[in-house]
Symmetry: C2
Subunit: 124 residues, 2 copies
DNA sequence: CGGCATCCACATGGATACTG
DNA sequence: CAGTATCCATGTGGATGCCG
């Protein structure tokens, strides 16, 4: 590989532990990146608000995803009110630091996938 | 959508088309990010070379992944030699521009997931 | 080397309905 | 509002073996 004998990190080479793979296993699920993206932009959100903002995800899948993200310590759930029962989902420190990842995804998507105004076939 | 009248982009809001989701559906699969990462670092690679560098992926799964990535125009396969049959996988322009995404994932992973030297439990 | 064929297990997503 | 309960279809990955 590129740097073998010195003190530099050799992650992600050969059989070593790989940060890319590890990160991928945490966030590579259909709705995870968008959920994080929405929470980054619009701060804490309730369940329904989140569902509205995340395209056409069903409540079951959203629920599963949120649970998964909580287990991974990327988001937190807090009960804001008991009477009119309200909760809020927000990013943890860890989670919010994924901002560069989702931003990069967003930028790439804007450049390479379907620009709404233009109907040419960069669609994929 | 929320902001209808001005010139601002409204991607990823409500029912609109979302670059994050779209990008996610392209690269969010277990081995895709690493494959791209390896190709970014070590240029064109043969099938076996790639398999060696991508942890413990089986040939079937690697094959499936590479096919998927080709369909999405993120990588290309070229036959380099016929006699000793050799192929090379390389990134397309589109694909190589995913560099910011995988780099961001790599950086996040290094910061938040298992530092090899240290055995504390930031593991998951 | 560069795969494909098979078979299998489980993860994940989707639709629908219902609840406190 | 904030979910849960089912059920089901498909996606996705893994193991093993074989082939030109």
């Amino acid at each position: 590989m590129h740097d073998s004998s010195d003190g530099l990190q050799v992650w992600c080479a050969g059989e070593e532990w790989c940060p890319v793979t590890s990160t991928a296993t945490l966030i590579c699920r259909k709705w995870h990146p968008v959920i994080i993206h929405r929470l980054l932009n619009d701060g804490p959100l309730g369940f329904s608000a989140l569902q509205d903002q995340v395209d056409g995800v069903s409540s079951k899948v959203l629920s599963d995803s949120l649970e998964d993200l909580q287990e991974k310590k990327l988001i937190e759930r807090s009960i804001v009110s008991e009477q009119p029962f309200r909760v809020e989902y927000s990013l943890t420190e860890r989670g919010s630091e994924l901002e560069p990842v989702v931003s990069a995804m967003e930028n790439w998507g804007k450049r390479h996938l379907q620009p709404p105004e233009d109907e040419h076939s960069g669609r994929f």
